[in-house]
């Protein structure tokens, strides 16, 4: 091979307490479709963004055609021939489809006045191949906000194609597409490959990767775990690269008896008979979800990410508009109308986006821990006593073995794992009866992961109802007594203790892809 078209090396990027990229490497050549794979949170999107210029890495070099590329922003990337389809689309909802496709590179006449006809022509040309996706009629003048998710995705693709890139980044571009549209996209990508374009392709669907890509680079925890020729690789090998060779642990169900006995000494948190029954729960993103969880049980939520798992947890916590259905805890209906009521009723949510939903980055650890339960310790629900708050927080720091300097430090000074423990700890101080965990170990290092697993097991053993969503199938395997596989907002499969395994979870999730049968 001659000089590779793209060489990225030693790319590092840190977000607060999370090391998103930790020296990632990627090398790819002209006329290649190169898969970029890895579990959720492994840094794929961040790596894509450093190439596209929307993220500036802390360290690392990017070479294009052997020359070092200085990418200070999207315009630099564009000048180097890079165009990206972002996982979080770069579509402006209030602009029309045409305006979105040409955005930033609008054809103009003299003095910067827009040439609307040229814009329409360019957008039409870029979208033409996908006409079938729009029921045969291109919505060139409709606002993008009026389109469905798949249609918006196609507009994002067309926008990148209209930039005529040498390097095209496709980050989860197929996640919301139907089979026929995926086929069109693949045809387009194959033509680009024939023209010498490099396509970086990220998808959770391994069958797509094998169908389309030549090689694959696998990221794990922000580091490159390896690059493989796909023709000489099978699914097992890829999954092993993604998951690592950590020793396989027996599912939690198999050990349930032993663990339960061990923690009984600490005394149960809630009555052992607690049962959560969810019936016909329906929201914008959920359809008729029903299930039952007993106290002491960990119910896992599996499937491809973004199928409604997070919404389900949010809905149970009163954070989504519930159209129909109910949840009953020990015979009493749970209030689903607001998080405040849910929290008062004994429900706790450890949300999926720690930074945005879970913690108060600039506030002290003390306040982060106290907030959910402080009204219980306050005099007249108003006056706080410093000693009581410090005592409660210190007890939780010790119980969860949170590594901190001082309770007065902002929680943002902690590492990701310890931040997550603080988020969990604030709820444990409130003694919840139902604990909802949304991807609790995302962006958390291995050692802290194990500790969080122990906390989750302890919660169940103490009699709480635990529902766990995880993008990490090994985590589901290790922790769950049962797993519900979620697809497009509804439960499509239930795996019991014997059926839970990483392989089974992955295949359950993937086999349900559109156009395929069970």
């Amino acid at each position: 091979m001659s000089t590779p078209l793209l060489e990225m090396s030693g790319v590092r990027k840190r977000y607060g307490g999370v090391q998103a990229l930790d020296g990632a490497e990627l090398t790819a050549v002209r006329g290649e479709v190169h898969a970029l794979l890895g579990p959720n949170g492994s840094g794929k999107s961040t790596l894509d963004k450093t190439l596209a210029g929307t993220v500036v890495p802390d360290a690392g070099t990017i070479r294009i055609d052997g020359a070092e590329a200085r990418i200070g922003g999207p315009r630099d990337a564009h000048a180097l021939g890079v165009a990206a389809v972002y996982q979080q689309l770069s579509i402006v909802g209030d602009l029309t489809v045409t305006q979105n496709v040409v955005l930033g590179l609008e054809p103009a006449r003299r003095f910067g006045f827009l040439d609307q006809r040229a814009a329409r022509d360019r957008a039409g040309a870029a979208l033409e191949r996908f006409t079938a996706a729009f029921a045969g009629r291109l919505p060139l003048d409709r606002p993008a906000s009026a389109l469905g998710p798949g249609e918006r995705q196609i507009v994002e693709v067309a926008k990148a194609l209209a930039r005529r890139p040498r390097i095209l980044v496709l980050d989860e571009a197929t996640a919301s597409l139907h089979k026929e549209q995926v086929d069109v996209l693949f045809d387009v990508v194959r033509e680009l490959r024939a023209d010498g374009v490099l396509v970086l392709f990220t998808s959770h669907r391994l069958d797509e990767v094998f169908a389309l890509c030549d090689r694959a680079t696998v990221l794990r925890n922000g580091r490159t775990a390896g690059t493989v020729e796909l023709a000489a690789t099978d699914e097992d090998e890829l999954v092993r690269l993604m998951v690592g060779d950590a020793p396989h642990q027996a599912p939690r169900a198999a050990r349930a008896g032993a663990a339960g006995a061990g923690s009984a000494a600490e005394g149960p948190v809630s009555s052992p008979a607690a049962t959560l029954e969810v019936r016909g729960l329906t929201t914008d993103r959920l359809r008729d979800v029903s299930f039952t969880v007993r106290s002491g049980e960990v119910l896992g939520l599996g499937g491809l990410q973004g199928q409604g798992q997070s919404e389900l947890l949010l809905a149970l916590f009163g954070g989504a508009h519930v159209g129909a259905g109910e949840a009953v805890l020990d015979g009493r209906p749970l209030p689903l109308s607001s998080p405040v009521k849910a929290a008062r009723a004994g429900v706790a949510l450890v949300p999926g986006d720690r930074g945005r939903q879970g913690m108060f980055a600039v506030r002290p650890i003390q306040e982060n821990l106290s907030l959910a339960s402080m009204h219980r310790r306050a005099t007249a629900r108003l006056a706080l006593r410093g000693a009581a708050e410090r005592g409660a927080a210190t007890a939780m720091v010790e119980r969860l073995r949170i590594k901190i300097g001082s309770l007065a430090d902002p929680v943002s000074t902690l590492s990701g794992g310890n931040q997550q423990k603080v988020v969990i700890g604030k709820w444990l101080l409130d003694r919840p009866r139902v604990v909802l965990l949304d991807d609790p170990t995302k962006g958390v290092d291995v050692a802290a992961k194990e500790e969080i697993y122990a906390i989750v097991r302890g919660l169940a053993d103490d009699g709480a109802v635990v529902i766990l969503n995880s993008s990490d199938n090994r985590e589901l395997t290790e922790l769950s007594d049962r797993v519900l596989v979620v697809f497009e907002g509804t439960v499509v499969e239930e795996l019991d203790a014997e059926a839970i395994s990483e392989r089974r979870l992955i295949s359950s999730a993937l086999r349900l892809g559109p156009g395929e049968t069970l």
């Binding site: 929307t54 209030d94 910067g112």
Partner: protein, 324 residues
């Protein structure tokens, strides 16, 4: 063909949906006003009514552009004041110097807008507070330029301003001209980028839109329209006043809101704001002709503005959920 037709239907519907409330308010305001003001439809009353509308219409168009970009300019009123006192000092009663005064006013608007733009886009200060701070700079400077009301505008200008051409008041023509300027601007790349930045700054940035430069442009355009507003005020009143713009800032925001532009940015247009400004001006008229006691006029006016702002918040009531 069918595609284009569908698009057109969509567009018309979009206009109707957001514009209906504005138009309804305008109709009600005109009806009430013509009932209360004895000779509302006389040419003299029409002329003088329109003459008082122009300043608010102009500043509302400027505010619209800033709001569309995702910002808010609380210094626009102060800019009107500054531009008007500078212009009145320059013109000093002489018609010869009027072009110079126009240039001076526009220069002031440009400079103020550029300062706001730089502060917001480059220093990345919150637009509301930053323009609040600059408003003190501008209104202080206005007092330095013209400590007490005074100065005079050549009578040819004030006469022409209140004249009419073929029975159409000049002031109405000016309003139409402002609307036309807006329509022309809307076909320019800068305005397209303004919409994109206000709609989703991150997406716009990723799409190669020069976000910072676009923001500066929005404030500069806002300043230029403030300058036009200042000139209209001078033509209407005939003299300078170092406090004249005080009330205009909030009124401009209210006009934008009544006109259906989202304060969040990215959605709406100045057409609605023109109507919104007229509605607001009519409300002032109505309060005057409804024999509201002098002492209560300001209260009613303030309450109407708050109510108008509240109207914008009502859609929010339907979907108030954590953005989780």
């Amino acid at each position: 063909m069918t595609g284009a037709a569908a698009g057109l239907v969509d567009r018309v519907r979009g206009v109707q949906l957001s514009g209906l409330a504005t138009v309804a308010m305008l109709v009600v305001a005109v009806a009430v006003n013509s009932a209360l003001q004895p000779n509302f439809w006389d040419s003299y009353a029409l002329t003088s009514n329109f003459a008082t509308f122009v300043p608010l219409v102009a500043i509302a168009v400027g505010q619209t552009i800033v709001v569309l970009s995702g910002g808010l300019d609380l210094s626009l009123g102060a800019q009107v004041t500054l531009a008007s006192v500078v212009a009145v000092q320059v013109v000093d009663g002489s018609l010869d110097r009027f072009p110079l005064a126009v240039a001076a006013a526009l220069g002031v608007g440009l400079a103020c807008g550029a300062l706001n733009g730089l502060v917001v886009a480059l220093l990345r200060l919150q637009p509301i507070v930053a323009t609040f701070a600059t408003s003190f700079v501008f209104s202080g400077l206005a007092l330095v330029v013209l400590p007490t009301p005074g100065g005079s505008v050549p009578f040819e200008i004030t006469t022409a301003y209140r004249d009419s051409v073929l029975g159409v008041p000049v002031a109405l023509l000016l309003i139409v001209a402002l609307a036309l300027v807006w329509l022309v601007l809307r076909r320019h790349r800068v305005l397209r980028h303004v919409y994109a930045v206000g709609g989703d700054a991150d997406a716009a940035y990723a799409s190669l839109v020069p976000v910072a430069r676009t923001r500066v442009w929005a404030y500069v355009l806002g300043g230029l329209f403030a300058a036009l507003s200042a000139l209209a005020i001078l033509a209407n009143t005939g003299s300078g006043d170092p406090f004249v713009g005080n009330e205009l800032t909030l009124a401009s925001v209210a006009a934008v809101v009544i006109g259906g532009t989202a304060l969040a940015g990215g959605r709406g247009g100045a057409g609605g704001s023109v109507l919104g400004a007229i509605v607001l001006a009519l409300v002032t008229n109505i309060i005057f002709f409804a024999d509201v006691p002098t002492d209560y006029r300001q209260l009613v006016n303030g309450a109407v503005i708050i109510l108008a702002l509240a109207l914008a918040g009502i859609p929010a009531l339907q979907k108030r959920r954590p953005s989780a």
